[in-house]
């Protein structure tokens, strides 16, 4: 599969002697050393990555890490010093102005942190801007703009001016404007950072809902790790202009490439990221077709359990029996497990976030069953939940 966007050694040096600085950079001098020696600032340092068609690729880093510069290199709002950006096999960094303009018009559009709306234009006229400059007819412009506005839930606001709308609504206009000319690539520069947390979450959800249908290639810049983990299919972490690690949210959390990444992910609310899959254990089970209460009791005594899950031959979950019920049954000489089986089992799936496991486990006297297609995949005990929140070492041990 060919990547939608392929970035190779993309570098931006701000200052008067970029060539000299570039040489130093190739000698692996640090950003500080280069600043001292040449007075030039390294904005982006030889960034290389590829973005697949239809994925949300998040570039995250703290302020000053070069992420905003990097996204502007992708559509050449900033001229790169070195390196190339391949979009559908065409090198954007060497395009002539006309081709570049066409690429910007048809292939990629951008959403800005402070919305970047034109205050003297109405909402609709803002949304139409991209088509207007392409010379699209008024009727077609209007039709497409209205479709885009409806998509972001702003129908009925088309004749208002941006300053009459709230921040969240303004950014919806920004998003609608970017969607109107139906680009394949969407560049979102801290698009939700200026919004308050509740609205931000709402917008993230909406973006993901939209993405379900649109399947655009989205490059999303953020300084907020929670946001990155929430919406990103893959995440690139930046520091001092360099990309430190690229990986899925899980990779980043579980296997931080270095101290920097580790520090970064330290403060993450793990309960939002980790799922049942990460903290479940291999379950002790007994087979309802083979075993009776006697075996169940014996197994529990061996393992030090107060209850045990019951499956059939195909590992389909049937329920659980408690030690009390089992010993009672043995006294009464009941042979069939079916009679003492509790079928009201607390279950979750592998993808249930840990956040949602809290309540279930609090209310339950037995471990929670993790079920996949009716089969018992694992169990979660209280201890594992606490351990996972405390650090990741325990977690990685338990899941292979």
């Amino acid at each position: 599969m060919v990547a939608k966007i392929e970035v190779e050694g993309l570098t931006k040096i701000f200052g008067k002697k970029p060539k000299r600085a570039l040489e130093l950079l190739q000698k692996n001098k640090t950003k500080d050393e280069i600043l001292k020696e040449t007075g030039n600032t390294v904005g982006v340092n030889r960034a290389s990555f590829s973005v697949e068609d239809g994925e949300i690729f998040v570039i995250m880093g703290l302020s000053g890490s070069g992420k905003s510069t990097l996204v502007r290199l992708l559509n050449r709002l900033i001229e790169p010093t070195a390196g190339s950006v391949w979009v559908d096999g065409e090198d954007l960094s060497t395009m002539d102005e006309k081709t570049l303009r066409e690429t910007r018009r048809k292939k990629m559009s951008m959403v800005f942190q402070k919305f970047g709306l034109f205050p003297f234009r109405t909402v609709r006229s803002n949304v139409e801007y991209g088509l207007e400059i392409q010379g699209v007819s008024q009727e077609e412009r209007k039709e497409k703009a209205m479709t885009a506005l409806e998509l972001v839930g702003l129908k009925g606001y088309e004749d208002m001016y941006p300053n009459e709308l709230s921040g969240g609504m303004q950014q919806r206009v920004g998003l609608a404007r970017a969607l109107t000319n139906d680009p394949q690539v969407l560049l979102m520069d801290e698009a939700f950072s200026a919004l308050d947390p509740l609205i931000r979450k709402e917008m993230q959800d909406e973006l993901m809902d939209l993405q379900e249908n649109m399947k655009k290639t989205i490059i999303f810049i953020t300084h907020d790790l929670d946001e990155a983990l929430r919406i990103g299919d893959r995440i690139a972490l930046m520091k001092d202009g360099s990309i430190v690690q690229v990986g899925t949210p899980e990779d980043i959390l579980m296997n931080p490439a270095n101290n920097y990444v580790e520090k970064f992910v330290e403060d993450v609310d793990r309960s939002k990221i980790l799922t049942a899959h990460h903290i479940m254990k291999r379950p002790e089970t007994i087979d309802i077709d083979k075993h009776g209460p006697r075996v169940a009791l014996e197994r529990m005594r061996q393992e030090g359990l107060s209850s045990i899950y019951v499956v059939d031959r195909k590992r389909n979950l049937k329920g659980y029996v408690t030690a009390d019920d089992a010993s009672e049954a043995r006294k009464k000489d009941i042979r069939d497990l079916q009679e003492i089986l509790t079928t009201d089992v607390p279950t979750v799936t592998k993808d249930t976030p840990m956040h949602d496991i809290f309540n279930a486990i609090y209310d339950s006297s037995v471990p929670i069953a993790v079920v996949e297609d009716g089969k018992l995949a694992g169990i979660i005990v209280r201890g594992a939940v606490i351990a996972a929140l405390a650090s990741d070492s325990e977690v990685t041990l338990d899941h292979a």
Binding site: R72, N75, L77, R101, E102, T103, R104, R105, K106, M108, S109, M110, F112, Q113, K114, F115, G116, L117, F118, P119, F120, Y129, G130, E132, I133, Q134, R177, N181, L187
Partner: protein, 282 residues
């Protein structure tokens, strides 16, 4: 202390300037003469036509425009009526029309010349570096000095008056056009570029609309400066209220001078409020 300067002869800057002006006058006579004649005729014509309209109608039109321009308030309209009637009452109506013509034409030309130069400055660091000191020069050189080459090029009358006003009044429009465009938020410029605007689309669809109120502030300044040149321009024979002030000065007639000066003030206030309100209303 300045002994070493003894060996340096006095630089003949004055001679150079004179020679240069003479050269300009001779070389571009083919250009200056038709401008002087055609343009002079055109201005005479405009002023005459304005003066030929019955004052009542002019006053009424100004009052109505004032009413709408100031957002349907009566203040400016009332002031215009009283002020213009006073000027009429003092027998300065024709002078007023000449002065107005001079100011109007000088301002329009200043804007036509100034805005493009301002745009050029905002787009090019080099242009800004070169033009800024020229603007400083134009504004600080005493306005009287411009009268001399103005006369050399265009002899006397309205045309050299407009020429001198142009030099004196254009800088604010240039400066504020430059400033206005440079102050457009980066994100808006980026937005316009990111959607694939050409340079002229960016300029006309984003930058100029965003800079509009700053540019208009510059235009307002330009009009006011053009008006302030009226008295000075009368020294080289430009007709109008300025000439009344000048002749009153020469004859030490305090009263006449005051009345003509008052006329200029009234005109200035009306023009200023008009241009300011046009800026606000949109």
């Amino acid at each position: 202390m300045l002994d070493f300067m003894k060996n340096v002869p006095e630089l003949p800057i004055a001679d150079w300037t004179s020679n240069f002006t003479d050269w300009l006058t001779d070389t571009f006579a083919f250009l200056f003469d038709p401008i002087k004649n055609q343009f002079g005729d055109f201005m005479e014509f405009t002023a005459d036509k304005l003066a030929a309209i019955p004052p009542v109608i002019v006053i009424l039109i100004v009052a109505i425009l004032a009413f709408f321009v100031s957002g349907k308030k009566f203040g400016l309209a009332a002031f215009s009526i009283v002020g213009l009637l006073l000027i009429y009452n003092q027998g300065l109506w024709e002078e007023l029309m000449f002065t107005f013509t001079l100011v109007l034409i000088a301002s329009v030309l200043s804007v036509i010349i100034g805005v493009p130069i301002g745009i050029l400055m905002s787009k090019s660091k080099t242009a800004e570096t070169i033009i800024t000191p020229v603007l400083d020069f134009m504004q600080t050189m005493p306005a009287f000095v411009y009268l001399i080459p103005a006369v050399a090029f265009f002899s006397i009358g309205m045309v050299p008056g407009v020429f001198a006003s142009l030099i004196f009044a254009t800088p604010p429009t240039v400066r504020l056009t430059n400033l206005g465009i440079r102050q457009v938020p980066t994100e808006l410029v980026e937005a316009s570029e990111a959607f694939g605007s050409t340079a002229s689309q960016k300029l006309f669809k984003v930058e100029l609309p965003m800079a509009r109120s700053t540019i208009m502030a510059g235009v307002n300044q330009t009009v006011m400066l053009a008006l302030s040149m009226v008295v000075i321009a009368s020294m080289i024979g430009a007709p109008g209220l300025g000439r009344e002030v000048l002749s009153a000065l020469q004859r030490a007639q305090v009263g006449t001078g005051f009345v003509a000066g008052l006329g200029i003030v009234i005109l200035a206030i009306i023009i200023d409020r008009f241009t300011q309100n046009v800026n606000k209303s949109k």
